[in-house]
């Protein structure tokens, strides 16, 4: 075996080293860069080819040359398919790279390799092998056999397929990557130029095949793009990631409505294995929805909502169809995007349901509900009006929807509009407001409403939202008016009663004076001396007159108390002032019944007290006369105490019949008598204790009773100790 050196080996060595470096470089990045594996394989094949070719060129004898040429064939047959696989991977058409397709691709190269090594038996690859030493170096000269052309044709098809894919990508690069695109085109076209030159016989250097060299250039340019600019990995990966990872189903149809591409989301929507989808007619894949297929068969562009599946599995999709054009602007197919909008549809349905509920709630309440927007410019817009406004107003809803001012300018009673405008202004300034005003209904009827508005400023959109409720309060207003009238009437009746009582008592006093006067004159003996019976009769007249006078006085006091017209006349007095005149008057009555009347004043009682002396005496008289009436024997004691620093008390204690527990509660009410059977004997006005109680309350005191049936009674009037009245006196 002899070796020769020729400088043409140098570029091949350079190519081998370069492509080897690219092989290793790509291999190291096979996990991070898609298409790196096929690129590494391509470069490895180029390396092998270059090394084989370099060794072929270095050989001088035919056997050695042929050996290396056969070695080269491993690279030669590998390069086209590696190229194609790289292009397919690079253009993200990985799904074509099925095991079956790869095996099919490898058939011809494997046969070629086998035939190259067994050429002596059949000459299918080479028909002639010789050495040409006419050039700058001894070169293997071959005439090609029949299989060589099969191999060549196959290689060119692979090369062409890969080139088309890559050129298409390069042309579609965004403008930003124009530089890379140019480099890419160069990388793709270099082997063509080189191989074209070789095959055409227009060789710069005789017997020198520059193809491996060209592929090295391709490798360098592609490698530069692949790893240096990284765009090859970023862009396709990004694109693939986007399309593959898209939740939207993407389907590409060719001109014959065959499915030529789809992403996993689309596969999931279709629900069939990829093999059953790829390359199939859309009408076949979507056979269940023939209606849709029919509807969109020739539609180039569409956007609509469709429904797929039945029952629980029913899903809603936004369907978008857009036409796809090739580089020459010829329609090449259609892109279908299916966006699952089931969730949105469900949300919409839930929203509709919720709104339906809201409407039902609104419809079920008798109030009118509104929502108004006040814009930054102060304009009022109706955002919502409940249909109840029709019942309230008698006008159709439309009247109000388009014209906010219909309510304030037509509905509201003219006399209440100014007031309502103030409310509207308050709400528009962001304050809550409540107002009662009148409305004039369509039929002219006037109704009262309460308009309660809540203002919610929306600073982001510079507006104020007003949420309001309008309630019909006509009935309430009517009741209020009736109540007010009834109240006025009651007051008037009470006033009349007081006036009547005052007048009656006034008018009664004059005839009473005559009765009393003449009776007493009879008693004087002015009309002659009286028999005992006559004197008794006259005494009865006088007694009855006193009773009647007391009744008149009590009625008048009661009337004054009822009308809050009784004013206290505060003075300062000594305990003696209070007791003496009363005792003087009452002693006679007590003694007449054989009762003793005693008084007891405790030492701690102030020497001077303050109060309405006349009214206190009246209280005392009422209590003592009450005690006398209900006591048959024993004593009546009047005590003045000071139970604590702030109070003093007047107590009237008797040894009478007592008052049963059940009667005590009502004893201080007007015209109450403990027992009807004794009222005649102990006749009173029935107002005494009631007046005591009311006078005591007027004096900010309390009257209480302690009594046991048959064991006497104790009435206690507890009064606040007033400051001395010197300044009043």
């Amino acid at each position: 075996m002899q070796w020769q050196f020729t400088p043409y080996i140098i570029p091949l060595v350079v190519a081998a080293i370069s492509s080897m470096a690219l092989t290793l470089y790509a291999w190291q990045r096979r996990h991070t860069t898609p298409a790196a594996t096929s690129f590494a394989l391509l470069m490895l094949a180029v390396t092998e080819w270059s090394i084989g070719y370099a060794l072929e060129l270095g050989s001088t004898d035919l056997a050695t040359m042929l050996f290396w040429a056969r070695i080269e064939y491993l690279g030669i047959v590998t390069v086209p398919i590696a190229w194609l696989v790289f292009a397919v991977q690079f253009s993200n058409q990985d799904r074509w790279l099925t095991r079956r397709n790869l095996v099919l691709l490898a058939i011809i190269p494997v046969i070629t390799l086998f035939l190259a090594w067994t050429n002596e038996a059949h000459s299918l690859v080479w028909t002639y092998l010789g050495i040409d030493s006419s050039g700058p170096f001894s070169a293997l000269v071959t005439h090609h056999g029949m299989w060589f052309w099969v191999h060549s044709a196959f290689s060119y098809i692979c090369l062409l397929g890969g080139t088309i894919l890559l050129v298409r990508i390069a042309l579609n690069f965004p403008d930003l990557y124009r530089w890379q695109a140019g480099l890419m085109l160069l990388a793709v076209l270099a082997p063509w130029i080189s191989n074209g030159l070789y095959l055409s016989g227009l060789r710069l250097i005789p017997n020198f095949d520059s193809t491996p060299f060209a592929f090295t250039l391709t490798g360098l340019a592609a490698g530069w793009n692949l790893f240096r600019f990284r765009f090859l990995d970023v862009v396709p990966v990004a694109r693939r990631a986007i399309v593959e990872g898209m939740p939207d189903g993407v389907i590409v149809l060719d001109g014959q409505n065959r499915i030529v591409d789809f992403n996993p989301a689309a596969q999931q929507i279709i629900g069939q294995p990829a093999a059953a989808i790829m390359g199939q007619l859309a009408g076949h894949v979507f056979a269940l929805r023939a209606d849709l297929v029919e509807r969109y068969r020739d539609v180039l562009e569409a956007s609509s909502e469709i429904m797929l599946g039945e029952g629980e599995a029913r899903r809603y999709f936004d369907l978008r169809i857009s036409p796809l054009y090739d580089r020459h602007h010829h329609l090449s197919g259609r892109l279908i995007i299916l966006r699952d909008v089931t969730k949105r549809k469900q949300a919409e349905a839930a929203l509709r349901q919720s709104e339906q509920h809201f409407r039902q709630v609104v419809a079920s309440i008798s109030d009118h509900i509104y929502m108004t927007e006040v814009t930054a410019t102060g304009q009022h817009l109706n955002l919502y009006l409940s249909p109840h406004i029709e019942m309230l107003s008698g006008y159709p809803l439309a009247k109000f929807i388009d014209d906010w001012s219909f309510w304030p300018m037509v509905m509201i009673h003219p006399d209440d509009r100014a007031m309502a405008a103030e409310q509207a202004a308050r709400l528009a300034s962001g304050q809550n407001s409540q107002l009662e005003y009148r409305l004039v209904r369509a039929n002219g009827e006037i109704i009262w409403v309460r308009d309660s508005g809540r203002a919610e400023p929306d600073p982001v959109r510079q507006r104020i939202l007003i949420y309001g409720v309008v309630s019909d309060i006509t009935e309430r207003k009517r009741t209020e008016v009736e109540l007010a009238l009834a109240h006025d009437q009651a007051l008037e009746a009470s006033r009349l009663k007081t006036e009547l009582l005052a007048r009656v008592s006034h008018e009664l006093r004059t005839p009473l004076g005559a009765i009393l006067g003449f009776a007493e004159l009879l008693e004087f003996g002015i009309y002659g001396s009286l028999s005992k019976a006559q004197k008794t009769a006259v005494d009865e007249i006088i007694d009855s007159t006193h009773n009647l006078t007391n009744l008149v006085n009590d009625l008048l006091d009661q009337a004054k108390l009822d009308a809050n017209k009784l004013d206290l006349n505060l003075t300062s007095f000594t305990p003696d002032d209070l007791l003496n005149s009363v005792l003087h008057k009452m002693e006679v009555l007590a003694n007449n019944k054989g009762l003793s009347l005693t008084t007891h004043i405790t030492a701690d009682l102030p020497a001077v007290l303050t109060g309405d002396l006349n009214r206190l005496q009246q209280i005392l008289v009422n209590l003592i006369s009450n005690a006398i009436k209900f006591t048959q024997s024993g004593t009546i004691q009047v005590c003045l105490h000071r139970p604590d620093a702030a109070h003093w008390t007047v107590q009237v204690i008797d040894t009478g019949i007592g008052i049963p527990q059940e009667a005590q509660a009502h004893l201080f009410e007007p015209f109450m008598q403990v027992d009807g059977s004794i009222t005649r004997e102990q006749a009173g006005t029935g107002l005494g204790l009631s007046i005591v109680k009311q006078l005591t309350h007027l004096m900010e005191g309390e009257v209480s009773l302690k009594s046991e049936d048959g064991h006497g009674s104790t009435f206690t009037v507890l009064l606040p100790l007033q400051p001395l009245q010197e300044e009043i006196l």
Binding site: R509, T510, G513, A514, L516, F518, F524, N553
Partner: protein, 125 residues
């Protein structure tokens, strides 16, 4: 012996009669008029020791007569007893009169009170 004089100014003749009897019992010489105008005429005469004055009178009210009498020095020694059926009016004039009697008035009580008001010197006469 000259009895002290008392005017009874009362529009109700029955009451006027009763008051007159009561005052007579108290040793007064009485003169009765039944309206304000007649009472006004009396004022030009010699002042009495006692006036029983009803507040409710025709033509001229008892209240006006009261102020009239109180405003005349000649009546400085004259005692005035007001009689009325009106408790509120009675209350308001308590300070102006020597006594205020609320109707019905007991003649016995009137007699006793009048006796207490009799001028001491006249009492001696």
């Amino acid at each position: 012996m000259t009895l002290p004089r008392a005017w009874i100014i009362e529009d109700d003749p029955k009451l006027a009669f009763i008051f007159a009897e009561a005052l007579r019992a108290a040793q007064f010489e009485t003169e009765t008029v039944q309206d304000g105008r007649a009472a006004r005429e009396l004022l030009s005469g010699p002042p009495p020791a006692l006036v029983i004055l009803d507040l409710h009178l025709p033509y001229l009210s008892g209240k006006d007569l009261l102020y009239f009498i109180r405003g005349d020095k000649r009546f400085a020694q004259t005692r005035i007893m007001l009689t009325t059926a009106d408790t509120i009016l009675a209350e308001s004039l308590r300070e102006e009169a020597d006594l205020v009697l609320l109707k019905p008035i007991s003649p016995a009580q009137l007699r006793d009170l009048a006796q207490r008001l009799r001028p001491f010197d006249l009492n001696l006469e």
